[in-house]
């Protein structure tokens, strides 16, 4: 079992050209991870289930018998007394009993029609399966409850990046080609992590061998990647955020961060200096009056034309778009509005706990945190900290992941060579393929169910809605239409 040599994943990013003849492609070595090597065994496994199995004993007895596909489809679709031959006279509902536009619960119309009782849970449905499933679940049946992979996978750590990038990207990773110091939070990239050990890990550790890169494993578990790691920080489970905050505290204490990057108030100035990102560190945030607290001060608040954030330059407030350098660490009062810079707020939050607190929470000695922070600063801007599932998929994980991402923001290495990189645009972004235009792609306007007369339009049916206000007015039609248009996640 070999990989596809035309795919960059299997060739460490160096795929063979598409015009290479198939026969010629066999000369090139495309690697895979260990999983597909067991495909043969999986295929010919005597225990492989080839037919549907139906229970033929009492529940929990573990007794099953093979049935035909026709019987399976009939029984699932139509229901009935399916276990009458076992002495069980109860009625088992089939799918057809839910194909009704009657409200699921007349007292809670926001739950939609009975069709929504059909729920499809699925894994990572790739290569067109998703479109087929959605056509069946959302259009043929008319349920909104198609719950694919992404609804249950990785939301925590991705949201940290979502906050960082101002809702532009969810996944960032270290540049495997040019980073020189990587903190890996919660990921065994020697056996998992997209794009797989044969692509990402193979590239990283070759550079480790050449002495071009050091990586630090932050993980409660000592896994395979320790084999070539510079350090292992066995952080307490779920405390990655505390460690990241501790590292930031050391960097701030020792003034080891890229001040010039954080002072740039707008994208134009950043671009002039050769950066394609900028931070809102010097933008002012309102503290009082309380009703406005927490949001950024804008020029509108000061009675100036336009709507732009405000920074302090040479002691005077200026629109961020017109300033060339914002004061980073500042607090004061402008037009009787109490404000602080975003950087000051972050600093106060970080300094609200001593390093010993972060060290205790994370289970990593203070001295180690200091050493790692210094090493990180010494390699900046080619030092990167990134998290994958283990580093943020728990309660509060989005904040942990955000703290980890901030380590990169302190050095302005986001979206830069050797830094913290978002995924490439890929063919979807470049417009070669538009998934919305695939023939099987579900479209709201084509939904036969949407064109039907709905019970919600009949106002007599509307009883006491449980959710008051605007939300209750969002009919299930609109919600479903939204889900269909949004492409599934």
């Amino acid at each position: 079992m070999d990989g596809n040599p035309y795919h960059p994943y299997n060739r460490c990013g160096r795929a063979i050209p598409y015009d290479t003849p198939l026969e010629k492609s066999l000369e090139f070595r495309p690697s895979t991870c260990a999983k597909p090597q067991m495909d043969e065994d999986y295929l010919y496994n005597p225990y492989r289930i080839l037919k549907p199995l139906k229970r033929c004993g009492p529940r929990g007895s573990g007794k099953f018998e093979p049935i035909s596909w026709e019987q399976l489809i009939r029984e699932v679709a139509e229901g009935g007394k399916l276990f009458a031959h076992l002495g069980d006279d109860s009625h088992y509902p089939g799918l057809k009993e839910f194909l009704s536009d009657e409200p699921l619960d007349p007292a809670a119309l926001e739950l939609g029609p009975k069709r929504n009782r059909i729920i499809w849970l699925t894994g990572r449905s790739q290569a067109g399966r998703k479109h087929f499933i959605k056509r069946f679940v959302c259009q043929a049946i008319g349920s909104i409850n198609h719950l694919p992979h992404t609804d249950i996978c990785g939301i925590g750590f991705r949201m940290g990046n979502y906050i960082l990038s101002d809702v532009k990207a969810v996944e960032f990773k270290a540049d495997p080609e040019a980073a020189r110091y990587i903190l890996v939070f919660g990921s065994n990239f020697f056996s998992a992590l997209q794009p797989g050990p044969n692509a990402y890990a193979a590239r990283l550790h070759q550079r480790v061998k050449n002495g071009e890169l050091k990586y630090v494993i932050v993980d409660p578990r000592g896994h395979e990647a320790l084999a070539h790691a510079h350090r292992w920080l066995p952080v307490c489970p779920g405390r990655d955020g505390a460690l990241a905050m501790g590292l930031i505290r050391v960097l701030l204490e020792e003034e080891q961060f890229d001040k010039a990057f954080l002072e740039r108030p707008n994208p134009d100035i950043a671009r002039e200096k050769g950066f394609n990102t900028f931070a809102n560190a010097c933008h002012l945030v309102i503290l009082a009056p309380e009703s406005e607290a927490g949001r950024f001060l804008t020029t509108k608040d000061l009675g100036v034309e336009g709507e732009d954030f405000v920074v302090i330059e040479d002691g005077k407030p200026l629109p961020a778009g017109k300033a060339s350098k914002g004061t980073l660490d500042w607090e004061g009062e402008i037009s009787s509005v109490k404000v602080k810079t975003a950087f000051r707020l972050m600093k106060e939050e970080i300094f609200s706990h001593p390093l010993s607190f972060y060290a205790r929470e994370a289970g990593i000695p203070e001295e180690t945190i200091r050493e790692v922070a210094r090493e990180f600063a010494a390699h900046a801007p080619y030092a990167v900290a990134f998290a994958y599932h283990g580093g943020g998929n728990y309660v509060g994980g989005a904040y942990a992941s955000y703290a980890i991402a901030l380590l990169n923001a302190l050095f302005g290495n986001i979206n830069r060579r050797g830094g913290y990189l978002p995924p490439g645009g890929g063919i979807l972004a470049k417009g070669n393929l538009r998934p919305q235009e695939f023939p099987t792609s579900p479209k709201a306007s084509r939904s036969p169910y949407l064109q039907r007369k709905s019970p919600l339009r009949n106002k007599q049916l509307v009883q006491k809605p449980r959710i008051s206000g605007q939300i209750a007015l969002v009919s299930f039609h609109q919600r479903r239409a939204y889900r269909i248009c949004s492409g599934g996640h």
């Binding site: 000369e27 070595r29 020697f190 084999a227």
Partner: protein, 196 residues
């Protein structure tokens, strides 16, 4: 001891440490064998899974990857060790078999004749590398995927290694997928991949 003597001795010691446990590096004629570089190993087990055959019991192992831990928590370091058959020059397994089931090919690959094997395990007991597995009344031994080599293909384990940690040394012959690419005419590129 002067500096020169010290360097000489330490150099020799280095050679001994680096070489395989039973090695007379240089004195032996070149023969086909696997070569494993732990510095490049990810521990991904692709070689081990690729070595399994659907027609054989899956409990059979011809390669063993063992992570060796050193030190105590949290200062633990890890190193991978791969046990494999080095196709010994003077192979004790060949002479140990009372049924002549193990034979050396002309190129120096030790091959097991399954029809003659009775699974007594004498070969396994004398193997200094513990590279022979005996189970279900048969011995299982690495023959570098001889049937693949005959078709000019690399052994399965070598061809799937994502980093080039596992290589085939076969003097005077080349295999596909190749370690150097005719197409690009270059030496193996970074990451042990061909034609980069």
């Amino acid at each position: 001891m002067d500096r020169r003597t010290f360097l000489k001795i330490s150099g020799l010691m280095g050679l001994c440490v680096l070489g395989p446990p039973i090695s007379f590096a240089g004195s032996q004629p070149a023969r086909p064998k696997l070569f494993f570089d732990p510095e490049l190993c990810l521990g991904c087990l692709a070689c081990i899974t690729a070595c399994k055959r659907p027609e054989e019991p899956r409990e059979i192992d011809r390669l063993y990857l063992t992570p060796k831990e050193k030190g105590s928590y949290p200062g633990v370091t890890l190193k991978f060790q791969l046990k494999y058959c080095p196709q010994c020059e003077k192979a004790p397994c060949v002479s140990a078999c009372p049924h002549q089931a193990l034979k050396k090919t002309q190129e120096g690959i030790i091959r097991l004749d399954k029809a003659r094997c009775r699974g007594e395990g004498k070969c396994a007991s004398v193997c200094p590398y513990q590279a022979i597995d005996v189970a279900f009344g048969k011995a299982f031994k690495c023959d570098l995927c001889l049937e693949e080599l005959e078709k000019d293909w690399l052994p399965r384990c070598v061809s799937v290694c994502p980093t080039g940690a596992l290589r085939l040394e076969f003097p005077g012959r080349s295999f596909s997928p190749e370690t150097t690419s005719k197409r690009c005419g270059r030496a193996p590129g970074p990451y042990g991949m061909s034609g980069l």
